[in-house]
C-alpha cells in the first residue's frame, strides 16, 4: 500500500475501507542474519536502513512491548543539530539532513516540521558561548543565526525579556531545527522495514544472550531461542539491564526524564524555545498543546516516572520565561527512562563479544538522532566499520581520554 494524495482522496470518497495494517505481525523464524533488540525509533530505523541501503534481507526486530512504547513514544520530539564539539556536531547534522528527506524515503508522513529553535541568551558570557557554538555549527554545514534582543522581541513577543533576575539579551537560532511526530517516525520506519521483509516481532522480550567461545549465537526470548549471526542492541534506557546479560558493565546510568503537555491552545509558540537561565524548553504541538520539559530527576531510576520536585522546577522555569503559561492548564505529565552516559554523548560500537553490537547512551537527546543512529548502526552491522560520522562514539574513548563532554562536567551523569 503506497500513500499519496490521490489515495487519501479516493479513501475519503469510498468510506475508508481500503486502508490496510502498516506491518505484519509474524512469528519469529528459528534464526536470522541480524537480530535487532529494541523496537524504538533507533531499532526500527536500523532495520529500515539495513534492508534499504545495505541490502540485508534476513533481519528481525525484537520488541518486549509494542513498538514505540519506550522513549520513542514519550519524548518531546525536538530535532536539531546545534552541538558544539567536533565528535558530535557532524553526526547531528547528518541526522538533520536525513530528517529533511525522511518522508520521501519512507513514503510516510512523519510530520517533520522545521519551525526553528531558539536558545535564549541572558548574559554577555552566554552570548560569547553561543556565538562560538553557532560558528561550530556553520563549520559542520549546519545553519545558525545570532538574534538581537529586538529581533527576538518581534518573533516571540510573549517572552519576559525584562525579568529582573534573568533578562533576555538575544538568542541563537537554528532555523532548520524543529519537531517531528514521534509516533509517525516509528510507524514510518516500521512500515518501511516491514515492506522490505524485516520481521517486527512485538511482545518478545530478550531475556539472555547465547554466547559460546566469545561469539554470540543468538538470543533467548520470551518466545524461545532465536539464532542470529549478529545481534544489535538498541534498547535506550534499558541498556544497562540488557548488556549485563552479556556480562558487560557500561559507562551508563539510567535516569528518569519527565515531560508535560498543556491543554490545546491557539497557535502561540512559533518554534522551539529554550530558557538559558534554568532548564526549561517548550514548543507547541500541531494539536495545540504546549509541550515542555526540563531536567532529569537526577538519581538512578528504572521506574519510567519521575517525582514532584522536578515538576515544580520545570513549571517555575516556565513561569520565569513566559508568565502567560500560568494561564494554561496542565493536561498530562509522564516519564521515560534515559540512558545517561558518563560524558553525555552516545556510543555506537562493536563489543568485545564477536557478533554483538551496541547502540545507546543517548541520554535525553536521542530522538533527533533517530535517522542517523539507525543509518550508522546499520552501517556498522553490515560492514563492521564505523560510519565516518560516528568514529568518535566508541567504547574505548573513556579509557583513551577522548570523552565528548559538551557540558564539561565530568563523569557525573546527572549533571549532563
Amino acid at each position: 500500500m503506497k500513500f499519496s494524495g490521490f489515495k487519501v482522496v479516493k479513501e475519503a470518497l469510498t468510506g475508508h475501507k481500503g486502508w490496510r495494517p502498516l506491518w505484519r505481525n509474524p512469528d519469529p523464524k528459528p534464526a536470522y542474519d541480524i537480530v535487532i533488540v529494541g523496537g524504538g525509533g533507533h531499532g526500527l530505523a536500523t532495520a529500515f536502513y539495513l534492508a534499504k541501503t545495505f541490502g540485508a534481507l534476513n533481519v528481525a526486530v525484537l520488541e518486549k512491548g509494542w513498538i514505540g512504547s519506550g522513549n520513542a513514544g514519550r519524548n518531546t520530539t525536538i530535532i536539531r543539530s546545534n552541538y558544539l564539539l567536533p565528535g558530535n556536531q557532524p553526526f547531528y547534522e547528518f541526522s538533520m539532513k536525513l530528517w529533511e528527506t525522511l518522508e520521501q524515503d519512507t513514503n510516510f508522513n512523519s510530520m517533520v516540521s522545521q519551525r526553528g529553535i531558539i536558545n535564549l541568551i541572558h548574559t554577555d558570557g552566554q552570548r560569547d558561548a553561543y556565538r562560538r557554538r553557532g560558528n561550530a555549527m556553520r563549520l559542520s554545514g549546519a545553519d545558525a543565526r545570532l538574534l538581537s534582543r529586538d529581533e527576538l522581541k518581534k518573533m516571540v513577543p510573549f517572552l519576559n525579556c525584562d525579568n529582573a533576575r534573568f533578562p533576555i539579551k538575544g538568542g541563537l537560532m537554528q532555523p532548520r531545527a524543529g519537531t517531528a511526530r514521534h509516533d509517525g517516525v516509528v510507524w514510518g520506519y516500521a512500515r518501511g522495514a516491514d515492506m522490505r521483509g524485516v520481521d517486527i516481532i512485538q511482545n518478545c522480550e530478550v531475556t539472555g544472550f547465547r554466547i559460546e567461545d566469545g561469539r554470540v549465537l543468538g538470543v533467548e526470548t520470551s518466545k524461545g531461542f532465536i539464532g542470529a549471526k549478529k545481534v544489535g542492541v538498541s534498547v535506550a534506557g534499558s541498556s544497562g539491564r540488557v548488556m549485563s546479560m552479556a556480562g558487560m558493565r557500561l559507562p551508563i546510568e539510567s535516569h528518569a526524564l519527565q515531560a508535560f503537555v498543556s491543554e490545546g491552545l491557539k497557535p502561540t509558540i512559533p518554534g522551539v524555545i529554550t530558557f538559558g537561565a534554568g532548564h526549561f524548553y517548550v514548543s507547541q504541538s500541531d494539536k495545540g498543546g504546549l509541550v515542555f520539559g526540563g531536567d532529569i530527576d537526577g538519581y538512578n531510576s528504572y521506574a519510567q516516572r519521575g517525582n514532584l520536585p522536578v515538576v515544580e522546577d520545570v513549571l517555575e522555569g516556565g513561569m520565569a520565561l513566559m508568565p502567560m503559561i500560568g494561564r494554561a492548564r496542565l493536561l498530562r505529565s509522564w516519564g521515560g527512562l534515559v540512558d545517561m552516559s558518563m560524558d553525555g554523548s552516545p556510543i555506537i560500537d562493536k563489543t568485545d563479544i564477536d557478533g554483538l553490537y551496541f547502540n545507546g547512551a543517548w541520554c535525553y537527546g536521542g530522538f533527533k538522532a533517530t535517522p542517523a543512529a539507525g543509518y550508522t548502526f546499520a552501517h556498522l552491522l553490515a560492514t563492521d566499520r564505523p560510519h565516518e560520522t560516528v568514529t568518535a562514539f566508541r567504547f574505548d574513548r573513556f579509557n583513551r581520554g577522548y570523552v565528548i563532554d559538551e557540558k564539561g562536567v565530568g563523569a557525573q551523569p546527572n549533571l549532563h
Binding site: S238, R249, L250, S254, Y299, N300, N307, N399
Partner: protein, 92 residues
C-alpha cells in the same frame, strides 16, 4: 522521596545532592600495578541495576554528612540509610 537520616530522622530528598553508586567510596589503590585500568573502571563503569541500589547522597542543605542510601530503582522505594562513615568504618 523521604530519606531516613540515621541522626536526623526523615528528611526530604531535596535537601540532598545525589552522587551515584556507593562503590564510588572505594577508590582504587593508585600504587597498584593495574592502577590505570582500575581507575578507568572506577570513574566510568557502573552496575546500574534495575532493583536494589546502594548509592551516595550528600546532605548538602543539612548536616553535610554523606549517606549510603539503599533504594529500589524500579519503584523509588527507600529501604534504608546509613552514615557513609559508619559503612566505611565497618569495612576497615
Amino acid at each position: 522521596m523521604l530519606i531516613p537520616h540515621p541522626l536526623l530522622g526523615l528528611r526530604d530528598s531535596q535537601e540532598f545532592t545525589y552522587f551515584g553508586d556507593a562503590s564510588l567510596m572505594w577508590r582504587p589503590d593508585p600504587e597498584a600495578p593495574e592502577a590505570e585500568a582500575a581507575f578507568c573502571e572506577y570513574v566510568f563503569l557502573r552496575d546500574n541495576p534495575a532493583g536494589v541500589h546502594r548509592e551516595l547522597w550528600f546532605h548538602e542543605q543539612g548536616d553535610r554528612s554523606w549517606l549510603v542510601v539503599t533504594r529500589d530503582t524500579t519503584t523509588h522505594e527507600i529501604l534504608g540509610a546509613e552514615l557513609a562513615s559508619d559503612v566505611k568504618g565497618a569495612a576497615q
